[in-house]
């Protein structure tokens, strides 16, 4: 394999506390090394920012609902096809790009890893087929477990060890990475057209509450010592006044400590917090509660969050929160797709237009930015768009620009049709903070890597780490918003596993993507295996023998093996 020496760049690596100092980075055989030999290819990074490859912690980029979004919205392809490059496949789509475009676009922005945030276990094979076809970037997927029948029965009976054995079995079956919770209990209720809007609403028939589900799954996660914590999309998403439910949910993490060998500190990752930080009690008096929520998050060391920034685009919402999509369809009357999945979960899809001419959209935009700007710990606050829910991930360059430039924010506020009302309902206009590249690197590299339990090899540039490196045509002196956006969207170089995959924003190599999954060894558990057998015989529509996703579906798999038998 080839050897490289990246010279004269400004390095931003929070994992080592390097803040814009000039450092040379040497690469050999796919790893970062102390020094390079004289034969190394020299890359001149003068005036450029050098960071680790970025990690996406939450996006919907592969699987059944993503694909519904693609095919039931042919209009999303209009005007959004790239001219095909020399070595690339055809690209298409805007808010729900095809798999090829997904891989290329992440790479062009300097991303080398993305987490598919909601994998319905029964459809795991589909998720992996898409991941398989997505070029360059490493990926993993979180199976949704927050409405799973096995889980609800075990937790109701306080059988954490059984639940852990089941989760370990499920991760192996689905080649999954960790525990995703979406609208706990509410999605099961939705199978009857109902919902759970607070953490104390009982789940119909199962006689358990969302709070019990969340607590039980935190215990399960730490019992197993998984690399990632529970990853939660809370109840009551998207509704005015929901910040109290959010705080109630976050408080469930109190008293729990992370137990794992990966250096992960949080016990709960609360995702797309923008959708959960709403005040008011209707859309008329709707307002930001980002400060209240972030005041709590800043104090609680064992919580991480991601933002879910609204990008002010026409997009396609999709979530395992089935009742929410039905509710959204009631608001905008655009085409509604839904799939309820036996024993496990559901998913809904509805197009949505975040218009700068609508007051509520402006407020949502502000809330997303406030979360990041109020954050005291960039290592626990990550940038996402909950792609494609609040906007497509391809807008990260613009979000980074808004976060780094007060001028860019002010320009946007001025462009709103109801600027005054947006300003009244939020604090964004009075925030002067401009994030630095070091803070951006924490929010997109070192932070998410640590939260995913990957900080040993990813998210940083220390010798020994994987050579996933992004080099951008900007540095801390760059203040022009347009220049920031352009540079962040078109890396000068992207190294993936020590190979140059992107050069000046152009894909030059399809890379060798890896699928990450977690294989936990647990004590033999006859009870759980009996339950599995019984549920497949009686209630599933597929045979147990056909549930497993074989390893051949995970290209160049990166298996994180754990032993939870002690």
């Amino acid at each position: 394999m080839s050897e490289f020496l990246i010279k004269n760049g400004y390095v931003y690596d929070p994992s080592q506390g390097i803040n814009g100092e000039r450092h040379d980075i040497a690469v050999k055989d796919g790893k970062i090394v102390e020094s390079a030999s004289s034969g190394a290819t020299v890359i001149d990074a003068k005036d450029k920012a050098v960071m680790a490859g970025a990690l996406e912690i939450h996006a919907h980029i592969a699987g059944p609902k993503v694909n519904v979004g693609r095919w039931y919205r042919p209009e999303d392809k209009l005007f959004h096809s790239y001219k095909r490059g020399e070595s690339t496949r055809i690209e298409g789509g805007f808010s729900i790009p095809t798999v090829f475009k997904t891989g290329y676009e992440y790479a062009r922005m300097g991303y080398t890893f993305a987490m598919e945030a909601a994998m319905p276990p029964l459809y795991a094979r589909h998720v992996h087929e898409e991941i398989h076809d997505t070029p360059i970037i490493d990926e993993a997927a979180l199976p949704v477990i927050g409405n799973n029948w096995f889980m609800m029965e075990y937790i109701k009976n306080n059988e954490i060890e059984n639940n852990a054995a089941y989760v370990a079995w499920l991760l192996r079956q689905t080649k999954g990475y960790g525990i995703k919770i979406v609208n706990p209990g509410g999605t099961e209720a939705w199978a009857w057209g109902l919902n759970c809007l607070t953490i104390h609403d009982p789940v119909p028939y199962f006689d358990i509450t969302p709070a019990e589900i969340i607590t039980g799954l935190i215990q399960t996660n730490e019992f197993l010592g998984l690399p990632h914590s529970v990853h939660i999309h809370q109840n009551s998403l998207g509704l005015p006044g929901n910040y109290t439910v959010t705080l109630d949910t976050l408080k469930l993490a109190e008293g729990h400590t992370a137990k794992n060998r990966f250096g992960r500190k949080q016990v709960m990752h609360s995702t797309h917090l923008q959708f959960h930080s709403y005040g008011g009690d209707n859309w008329g008096n709707f307002e930001s509660k980002a400060r209240e929520v972030m005041d709590y998050v800043n104090r609680q060391e064992n919580i991480t969050i991601d933002t879910g920034n609204v990008t002010l685009d026409e997009t396609t919402t999709m979530t395992a929160d089935g009742p929410f999509e039905h509710h959204l369809h009631g608001l905008n009357h655009l085409k509604w797709a839904n799939v309820d999945v036996e024993l496990e979960t559901a998913a809904g899809v509805v197009p949505y237009i975040y218009s700068p001419n609508i007051k509520v959209c402006g407020i949502q935009w502000a809330i997303g930015l406030e979360l990041a700007l109020f954050s005291k710990d960039p290592m626990r606050t990550f940038i996402t768009t909950d792609h494609p829910n609040a906007g497509p991930f391809t807008r990260y360059p613009r979000i980074v620009t808004w976060l780094m430039s007060k001028k860019a924010r002010d320009d946007q506020i001025k462009a709103f049709k109801y600027s005054d009302k947006v300003v009244d309902a939020t604090e964004v206009a009075s925030i002067d903070r401009e994030l630095t590249l070091y803070e951006i690197a924490a929010m997109t590299r070192a932070g998410p890597a640590a939260a995913l339990g990957l900080s040993q090899n990813y998210g940083g540039l220390a010798p020994g780490m994987n050579a996933d490196i992004a080099i951008y045509n900007f540095n801390d002196e760059t203040t022009d918003p347009a220049a920031i956006e352009k540079a962040y969207g078109n890396v000068a170089f992207l190294f993936k596993d020590g190979k140059i995959c992107v050069r000046d924003g152009v894909i030059v190599d399809p890379g060798m993507k890896h699928t990450f999954w977690v294989d936990v060894k647990v004590k033999e558990n006859k009870q759980v295996m009996h339950d599995v057998r019984e549920k497949f015989l009686k209630y599933y529509s597929v045979n147990e023998g056909n549930y497993l996703v074989p390893e051949s579906y995970a290209p160049h798999q990166h298996v994180i093996a754990l032993d939870a038998t002690q």
């Binding site: 199978a191 009857w192 797709a337 529509s541």
Partner: protein
Amino acid sequence: MPKVVTDVTCPFCGTLCDDLEITVSDDNKKILSVKNACAIGAEKFNHTKEPGRVTHPRMRQPDGTFKEISYDEAIDFTARMLVKSRKTLMYGWASTSCQAMSIGHEIAEKVGGIVDNCATVCHGSSLIAIQDVGIPSCTLGEIKNRADRVIFWGCNPAHAHPRHMSRYSIFPRGFFTVKGHKGRKIYCVDCRHTDTARVADTFIQVQQGYDYELLNAFRTAARGGPLPDEIGGVPKEKVYEVVEELKTGRFGVIFFGMGLTHTLGRNHNIDIAISFTRDMNEFTKFNIIAMRGHWNVTGSGQVLSWQYGFPYAVDLSRLDKARYQTGETTSVDLLTRNEVEACFYIATDPGAHFPIAAMISSSKKPTVTIDPHINCTTEISDVHIPVAMVGVETGGCAYRMDNVPIETRKVVDPPEGLLTDEEVLTRILNRVNQLMEEA
């Protein structure tokens, strides 16, 4: 010792039953018996035993007879045809694996093909309707565990999807449906009294071509609106009564088939059936599911969608972007308007299903067909490349009618020397690459 292969998926219809047990001879060459499949499913496996299987590619001669050729010759002919043609119809895909489709798409991107599948003459109208109004749906296990109101509209699973009723929709006992059939009310809406109608509690005979009107009446009744005395031959009292029963159910579902997709109104019929389903969610839980025909036609739609964003009729002839326009990039229209220069058929028999005018046009073009058996299409092809039967002699991923992915299995060896779809397509792709580099 004969051995039993369990959890076998049936590669015949969109029901994709995955509980078959197949006994094979100890040398892996012969299927001895098939358990759990319906008659048509079993027939597919037993087909392997029949004599006269084509085991070598065949090329048509000037006198109309076929001569055996080698795979290399067949692959070279195909690759040259694809490279030369500026627009090739690449149709079929419904009876092969998703892995094979993926390779086929790569070829299409290289040579500028138009990739279309059987939806184009089947549930394409459903897909168009879903693109207009969305679709509230669920997996088949949800029906088994929860449904107490089941409507079959313009479909006849008793013949087309024989085990559908026993596995998912009428008879099974599930978690919340412990009484099985007794706990469900079954409705059948059709213009004929089918065998499915026989099992229904209520049969509603709609006049041919009046499905849209009747569904419209269902919507109106659900909202409590006034109706004329009779709609498509159905008295209004009946409509009010049925809709009332549906509302009092806990979980309803509509299954629909070609009786809706290919009768007067087409996509509009599906549109209003979906809209009715959506309306019903104001009163109770309601879903709708298309009865997809071929066992992996759904899979073709899925792979095309994640790679190009469209479920069928994907035109890659521009080479740098994918286009999709029903009526323009759909197979029958392309053929009848004489817009393609060559035809490449795989894993489906358009000769048996397309309108005659389309096939006459097709027969005048260079044509290659990849299929395990001789069929109507192979006989108008220049080259027929026989392959192993997917789901019997080789495995691969397939998607059920509710989009649930299930692996098909290899249960016996293919006849000696026979390649799989994946192998043939890979070799064509390699040859295409070679030829294009040379050029």
